[in-house]
């Protein structure tokens, strides 16, 4: 460790030493700011996670049951499944591991200026494209510029907005006739090529999470020669080659013959088989050994899987959840009604019933125990009498009749809703469930007055609060607005010091508990199933699957 540590890492190291910073948060910070992961683990006094479960063996085929989607435009992927196809052939600049720690990939090392405005990315020099060309800064820059172009339609844009992207009025009108906002690089030199293996991102403002953002799943590094398209035979720096792809049926990958720059791959062939959305069909396939893995487990199949001796359940706690959220209109305009909703909910029962215990009970504020700044403000116990009293106080002594909108997939959401609805009924909140197909739900998710919405895992509590609860935020589906909350949130976002953030977070959490618009019943564990002969596989919170890490040991 000869290189100079970033000042924040030094500071964090001190905080960690003083016990102010949790190990995990320290690790995350240190690695984010350019400390190589093993070194960071060392600094934190932890053993790096053992990658090996015995010696990897070479050879064999692994089949996974997963939707086979169209994968021709990696930069606009909006499904993890597509990215899981793409990532076998293509690499990311960085990789965030199952431990929430971001590590180098095509970027071997990175550093940020103290103000966090300028990030320098040092690329690996030993990477070649499968078709023989050397991987250089031009390749990286081409990909970066492409995803940051509004016309590409990539969701990466959102992560770099404000940092190197700026919004402007493009003079066009949107569908409703309002002036339309587009984004563009704030400066011509925003993405700067320093030399053949060094790229500099010159931001207009600070951004802490650039290495993590580089692992946003559409940001796959394509060969510029493929012009943004991807398919059978496409060039890549990754461990496999795509040899067959039929949407809705299957994809086949074979191990790269000229050797991969990283570890692996061990298996010869990786296949993705589309089993449809039906969870039962997936289990049937697993039972009859048509596949070795299922991409994502469904709760309804857990009982079956638990009985299968050759199958193991892989699970990891996350900040994934789904929240029952209200709009500030009758009867939910009264915070007592919203409180009653929370008091009426038995989170442990929801966890047990809907997720078969895989996860943690929610605490009605959208900050999960896996978040570094999570403040434990106590678990709100179910109190039906209190809920009733609150309703009565709010002027609904006979209870209220409401309708909650939900979607049928994934299945646990509808189970959770059903369980909560039964619980609420006891408190006098009589709820009708309106199930919309997912497509329809996503057209209306911000519009329905009372809905049950999935929220994906995000690394920081402040991120999710900023996205979903800040006044006027695009995804503030609850139309919630609380000046004090906004103020505190901004304050929290200003602290790099996690303890300071945690202190503010406690206040934010209490505000949410008191008058927030949501019921957060559970923190979901993400899980899937694999045959026990599959070794080396650890489930990622985002269910990213890297076939290069696994091997077969029957």
């Amino acid at each position: 460790m000869t290189e100079k540590l970033h000042p924040i890492v030094e500071k964090a190291g001190r905080e960690f030493a003083d016990g102010k910073l949790e190990r995990r948060e320290f690790l995350r910070l240190a690695v984010l700011l350019g400390v190589a992961a093993p070194a960071a683990y060392g600094m934190a006094g932890l053993a790096a996670p053992a990658m090996a479960q015995g010696m990897p063996k070479k050879g064999g085929i692994v089949r996974i049951g997963m939707r086979v989607q169209d994968i021709s435009n990696p930069h606009t992927y909006s499904w993890i499944e597509s990215a899981n196809s793409g990532r076998q052939v293509l690499d990311y600049l960085t990789v965030t591991g199952i431990d929430n720690v971001t590590r180098p990939s095509l970027v071997q090392k990175w550093e940020a200026t103290p103000d966090l405005k300028t990030w320098t990315l040092h690329l690996r020099r030993d990477v070649t494209w499968r078709k023989g060309r050397k991987f250089t800064a031009d390749d990286a820059i081409w990909n970066l510029k492409r995803v940051l172009d509004d016309k590409t339609g990539s969701s990466v844009v959102g992560l770099f907005k404000g940092f190197i992207l700026t919004e402007f009025d493009d003079g066009q009108k949107d569908a409703k006739g309002n002036p339309r906002k587009s984004v563009r690089l704030w400066d011509a030199n925003a993405v700067q090529k320093v030399d053949d293996f060094t790229v500099k991102l010159n931001g207009q403002s600070a951004n802490l999470s650039i290495p993590e953002s580089l692992f946003h799943y559409p940001l796959l590094i394509l060969s510029p020669e493929d012009g943004g398209k991807f398919g059978v035979g496409s060039d890549g720096t990754g461990a496999f080659e795509l040899v067959e792809h039929e949407v809705g049926k299957r994809s086949v990958f074979t191990a790269r013959k000229d050797g991969y720059w990283g570890g692996g791959p061990y298996i010869d062939r990786f296949e993705i088989i589309d089993l449809g959305d039906d969870a039962a069909a997936q289990v049937s396939a697993l039972v009859s050994k048509q596949v070795d893995m299922i991409y994502q487990g469904a709760i309804s199949t857990l009982p079956t899987i638990e009985k299968l001796t050759h199958i193991q359940v892989n699970s990891v706690d996350t900040g994934y959840t789904a929240v029952a959220r209200t709009h500030p209109i009758k009867p939910f305009d009264d915070k007592r009604v919203r409180q009653a909703l929370r008091y009426a909910t038995d989170n442990e029962a929801v966890l047990k019933g809907a997720l078969r215990g895989l996860g943690k009970p929610g605490e009605h504020h959208h900050v999960a125990p896996v978040h570094p700044e999570y403040a434990d403000i106590g678990y709100l116990k179910r109190d039906v009498a209190k809920a009733k009293a609150l309703l009565a106080e709010a002027g609904y002594p006979n209870g209220v009749d409401v309708t909650i909108d939900a979607r049928p997939q994934p299945d646990w959401e509808l189970l959770a809703v059903q369980i909560m609805v039964e619980q609420w009924k006891e408190a006098g909140i009589r709820t009708k469930i309106n199930v919309m197909p997912s497509a329809q739900y996503w057209e209306n998710w911000t519009k329905v007055p009372f809905g049950f919405t999935t929220w994906a895992h995000r690394p920081l509590g402040t991120m999710i609060l900023g996205l979903a609860y800040r006044t006027g935020a695009a995804w503030n589906e609850a139309n919630w607005s609380n000046a004090e909350f906004d103020k505190l949130l901004t304050e929290a976002e200003g602290y790099l010091d996690v303890e300071k953030r945690r202190a503010v977070m406690a206040k934010l959490e209490r505000i949410m508990l008191d008058e927030g618009p949501v019921v957060v019943p559970v923190w979901r564990a993400v899980f899937n199933f694999s045959d026990k002969k599959i070794k080396g596989y650890k489930i990622h919170p985002s269910i990213y699957i890297d076939a290069k890490d696994v091997w077969i040991d029957a």
């Binding site: 039962a280 309804s300 638990e306 047990k352 019933g353 049928p408 299945d411 509808l414 609805v421 039964e422």
Partner: protein, 302 residues
């Protein structure tokens, strides 16, 4: 008709008028009873249907538990037991209670949907058959277009667009069945409108609507009653299928098809959760079909 059938018809007439005499004493219900009991198939069918109707009607009293009462603890051993005769489902809800309450749903939605279709179909069919001409052409053309849609696809398109609710399911079934019923009614009308009693009604100046609804319709009731029960069966299947495909009646209220779908993933460990509602829906449809087949046979026997 040959003379031998005259010979037979004469003796049948005797027994038929015997039945008729009974019927006159017993009223319309008695007549239905006597027709149903004449066919063993119809008797079995009617018994099954009646049993479900009774269970549905008495659901609040006969169902041992509230249908949506969740007891997560029970999921540890969901199999049939003394407390839960048919076991519980994956949320610990009593399956028997859900079946009984589910009967209520299906026995409301299906008959309403079929009745809606029958009423619309009767109106259009009578109009089309009796009036003929352009009205006939237009009605049949529109009907044909609707019928050209494979049913399940029509259901999917409409329900995906407008959402799954009892009302939408009823509407979609009404819409897709009405043209078929209109066809049946039109056929019968074309036949009956040439009967002499219709001519007689015209001769005395009855209005077209009077002739359609008072002179023609009552004589089409036989095939319509048979069709009603057949259609009740198919509609029950359709509702079940929609439930199974996940576009059925919204939870938590028990919907048999939905129950199968929800538990289908657990068929390997807890088959009772899928097999029992499957049996329930099958039995109801079998009941309706047996009754329809029996009634048709009884009607053919005269």
């Amino acid at each position: 008709m040959t003379e031998i059938s005259h010979d037979l018809a004469a003796s049948r007439l005797a027994s038929a008028s015997l039945v008729g005499a009974e019927a006159a004493d017993a009223g319309p219900l008695g007549k239905v009873y006597s027709v149903v009991t004449r066919s063993p198939l119809a008797t079995v069918g009617a018994t099954i249907l009646l049993t479900w109707c009774l269970l549905a009607l008495l659901a609040p009293w006969v169902a041992p538990y509230p249908p949506n009462q969740i007891d997560v603890a029970l999921v540890a051993d969901p199999h049939p037991s003394a407390q839960h005769w048919l076991g519980v489902d994956h949320l610990g809800r009593d399956i028997l209670s859900r079946l009984i309450w589910g009967a209520r749903t299906v026995l409301t939605v299906a008959p309403i949907a079929v009745l809606g279709a029958v009423m619309l179909g009767i109106f259009l069919g009578l109009l089309s058959g009796y009036r003929g001409g352009m009205i006939d052409v237009v009605i049949m053309r529109v009907g044909d277009t609707l019928l050209a849609f494979p049913k399940i696809i029509l259901y999917l398109i409409i329900i995906a667009k407008f959402g799954a609710s009892a009302f939408n399911i009823i509407a979609v079934i009404t819409l897709s069945s009405a043209p078929i019923i209109a066809r049946i009614v039109r056929g019968v009308t074309l036949d009956i409108k040439n009967r002499d009693y219709v001519a007689a009604a015209r001769m005395r100046g009855e209005s077209a609507f009077f002739i359609m609804f008072v002179e023609i319709l009552p004589n089409a009731r036989g095939p319509l009653i048979v069709d009603f029960f057949l259609r009740l069966g198919y509609t029950t299947i359709a509702i079940g299928v929609l439930g199974f495909l996940g576009v059925g009646l919204p939870p938590p209220d028990p919907d048999w098809g939905g129950m199968v779908k929800e538990a289908y993933g657990m068929i390997f460990v807890w088959p009772h959760m899928t097999i029992i509602p499957s049996l329930a829906i099958s039995s109801l449809v079998i009941g309706a079909n047996f009754l329809a087949t029996g009634l048709r046979e009884a009607a053919l026997d005269g």
